[in-house]
């Protein structure tokens, strides 16, 4: 019976190839776009450093004035002030690692006249940044605390910069210029793939920064700060000149712009929290932290959950793709319905000759499953090209300062997505065909056979 129904299903598909193709195309296009978006959402929501993401915490202390508004979510809470950053780095806690960073930018230049200077984004970090976030080094290493404290002019550059400025050779020991400063290269990062740039809380998709310099050097030379910042009423005047404000005023201000991270083992989280609270209490006695004391430790997983839920672009795009898919399915239902209804007479004859309802259902379900399978396959092919297209747009919109290998995983189909597309394709096609098949199998036997 199965093989007979299968033969009938194949025959029907071959009988009207244009209609079959149209149905498959309707499903495939809808599914293709849907899978493209799903894959992008899935890949960009992958939490980096998965093996320890629940132990990496963003630290936030509420240093705002008494009149400040309540925040809607702790993710909206302010960053850390420079003086708190330095104070916290002094805390002695075995097993706990702390690191911090903020964003800057600069024009990198080399001696070679033939090489054009490059303007790019960069991060100001401290020495433990590289170990905490496990950055991959192609050449050289990070710097140590002593180097950092001496304010030495060292720099770590990305693979992209190394390729553009030094043709990919080992440039450790050579130097680059940022404006008038000459910095010695001590390390070159290999491709460091991140689903999004989480460490500065921008969660911007893809590639990390192109050079990294010690915070001491950045402060001593007052390199520009491109990070978001919050200066409270007391320092409102600084707000206007924040990016280039001189460091002595900044150091003593309540301006918060440093993103502060702590890697704390499970067992030490309560202790760590306690320690931060007592630090805040002692600062309070000095007249700071005017509000009721509040601090937040949010691990990477929770931050990603929050950010993913608020990814406007992908969320809107997801809704659109789902709607588009639904429209395509509706189209497929229309085509199937029209096609099946032409078969009323044949079905009523088959019923008269002894076909059971379930046999008729099976025959048409098989036909639909074949359509769903082919639609699913073609949908996956379409989503592959869709993702390539989206990646090209991303490369183009970055003015090609990004390289494919930096962002490719964001646009990569994986088995989960492929299986998902397949199952979705088949299930949706079956669901779409329920009504047409229901109509067909309920045709009374012989009802369509009356002589005219």
């Amino acid at each position: 019976m199965f093989s007979y129904n299968f033969q009938l299903a194949l025959k029907s598909l071959k009988e009207r190839p244009a209609l079959t193709l149209l149905t498959i195309l309707a499903i495939a296009t809808g599914l293709g776009l849907y899978t493209t978006v799903k894959t992008m959402s899935y890949q960009s929501s992958q939490v980096p450093l998965a093996h320890k993401s629940k132990n990496i915490f963003l630290l936030q202390m509420d240093n705002r004035e008494i009149t400040a508004d309540a925040v809607e979510h702790q993710a909206r809470m302010v960053d850390t002030t420079y003086k708190d950053t330095l104070n916290l780095m002094q805390l002695e806690m075995p097993g706990v690692k702390q690191s911090f960073n903020w964003s800057t930018y600069g024009i990198l230049n080399v001696e070679d006249e033939n090489i054009n200077p490059l303007q790019t984004t960069a991060a100001v970090v401290n020495s433990s940044f590289f170990t905490m976030f496990e950055t991959p080094f192609l050449y050289g290493n990070g710097w140590d605390k002593t180097t950092e404290e001496s304010g030495e002019a060292v720099i770590i550059i990305s693979k992209l910069m190394n390729d553009k400025l030094f043709g990919g050779r080992n440039s450790v020991g050579e130097s680059v210029r940022i404006n008038t400063h000459v910095l010695k290269i001590i390390g070159v990062l290999d491709t460091w793939y991140l689903s999004s740039k989480f460490y500065n809380r921008s969660f911007w998709p893809g590639y990390p920064d192109n050079f990294f310099i010690p915070y001491t050097f950045a402060m001593d030379n007052n390199l520009p700060r491109s990070a978001g910042f919050d200066c409270w009423a007391a320092n409102a005047d600084i707000s206007r000149s924040f990016r280039t404000e001189n460091k002595d005023r900044l150091i003593n201000s309540e301006c918060a712009w440093v993103t502060f991270w702590a890697e704390v083992p499970e067992a030490k989280v309560a202790d760590y929290r306690q320690q931060i609270m007592s630090y805040m209490e002692s600062e309070q006695t000095l007249g700071r932290f005017p509000r009721e004391l509040a601090m937040y430790l949010t691990n990477l997983n929770d931050q990603y959950n929050y950010v993913n839920g608020r990814n406007q672009f992908l969320n809107t795009f997801s809704v659109l793709a789902t709607l588009f898919f639904a429209v395509c399915l509706l189209n497929a239902v229309g085509i199937l319905l029209a096609k099946f209804m032409r078969r009323k007479k044949e079905v009523s004859l088959r019923r008269a000759l002894g076909a059971k309802k379930k046999t008729i259902i099976m025959q048409h379900l098989l036909e639909v499953v074949i359509i769903g399978l082919l639609g699913g396959l073609l949908g996956i092919v379409i989503s592959y090209f869709g993702l390539q297209g989206m990646m090209s747009i991303r490369l183009y919109s970055s003015d090609y300062t990004v390289r494919i290998e930096d962002i490719q995983p964001l646009f990569q189909l994986n088995w989960v997505m492929i299986a998902n597309a397949f199952v979705t394709g088949i299930i949706c096609t079956i669901v779409a065909s329920i009504y047409p098949i229901w109509r067909l199998c309920n045709i009374p036997p012989a009802s369509q056979l009356k002589s005219q």
């Binding site: 019976m1 007979y4 009988e15 007479k345 044949e346 004859l349 088959r350 019923r351 008269a352 000759l353 002894g354 076909a355 059971k356 309802k357 379930k358 046999t359 009374p444 036997p445 012989a446 056979l449 009356k450 002589s451 005219q452």
Partner: protein
């Protein structure tokens, strides 16, 4: 073998109720050739549809081969149609895109027979109707009479208890009608019960027994009685 007791069938639509059959009492024995006549719209097709388990009814009982058909599930009715009944329709109702072999194959497929048995039965049935040499032709390549013979082959291939024919010659010219009638008589003579609706009085008279339906009511005239009526007229 086929017994209806007090069977009524009412078609209800939003506007009207049609009493298509009223309290039919009828017994048809194995091996009979019964013709059914009556004016158009009197309920002949409805009667055949009930007899063929194509439709359900609310009142009365219908015993087929000793079992009451009333209230059986749709699946069970399909099985009965498939195994016990052969249908012949006025407009042949062959599947136009299937060769004769595959057309005759349809009811056998739903019976789940082995390929070998099906092949034997199909060939035998097509031989019986004289079309064994045309097995791979499409129905459209045949004349009307030939098409009806394929339909008869399809009806008898499964060795049913009885054949139901609704105006089997209605679409045929008189020569072809003769041939089809002869074929049916031949099949009947080998033991298959046949119930045939017809408009043609001459053909009706060739049956053993004639049933007349007027306005949903059945009057049953035994052949002997009918002959007397004709003789005295």
């Amino acid at each position: 073998m086929l017994r209806m007791e007090n069977v009524s069938k009412i078609y209800r639509t939003d506007l009207v109720e049609t009493h298509a059959l009223r309290k039919v009492d009828l017994h048809i024995k194995s091996g009979e050739f019964v013709s059914v006549t009556g004016p158009s719209g009197s309920g002949k097709t409805t009667f055949l549809n009930l007899a063929g388990a194509l439709e359900t009814f609310e009142e009365g009982d219908y015993f087929l081969d000793g079992h009451n058909v009333k209230g059986l599930s749709d699946d069970k009715l399909s099985e009965i149609r498939n195994q016990k009944i052969g249908f012949i329709f006025q407009s042949f109702n062959l599947l136009p895109d299937l060769p004769l072999f595959d057309n005759v194959d349809v009811p056998l497929r739903y019976r789940g027979m082995s390929a070998k048995e099906r092949k034997e039965r199909i060939e035998h049935a097509l031989e019986t109707v004289g079309l064994a040499s045309r097995m791979q032709h499409l129905p459209t390549q045949l004349s009307g009479g030939q098409q009806q013979r394929v339909a008869i082959a399809r009806a008898i291939a499964g060795d049913p208890l009885f054949l139901l024919a609704d105006e089997p010659t209605g679409n045929l010219d008189s020569l072809m009608a003769q041939q089809v009638m002869e074929l049916l008589e031949d099949i009947n003579s080998k033991g298959t019960t046949i119930i045939m609706v017809t408009h043609d009085d001459q053909l009706a008279r060739r049956a053993h027994r004639n049933i007349q339906i007027f306005d949903g009511q059945v009057s049953d005239i035994e052949k002997s009685v009918a002959d007397d009526v004709i003789r005295s007229a």
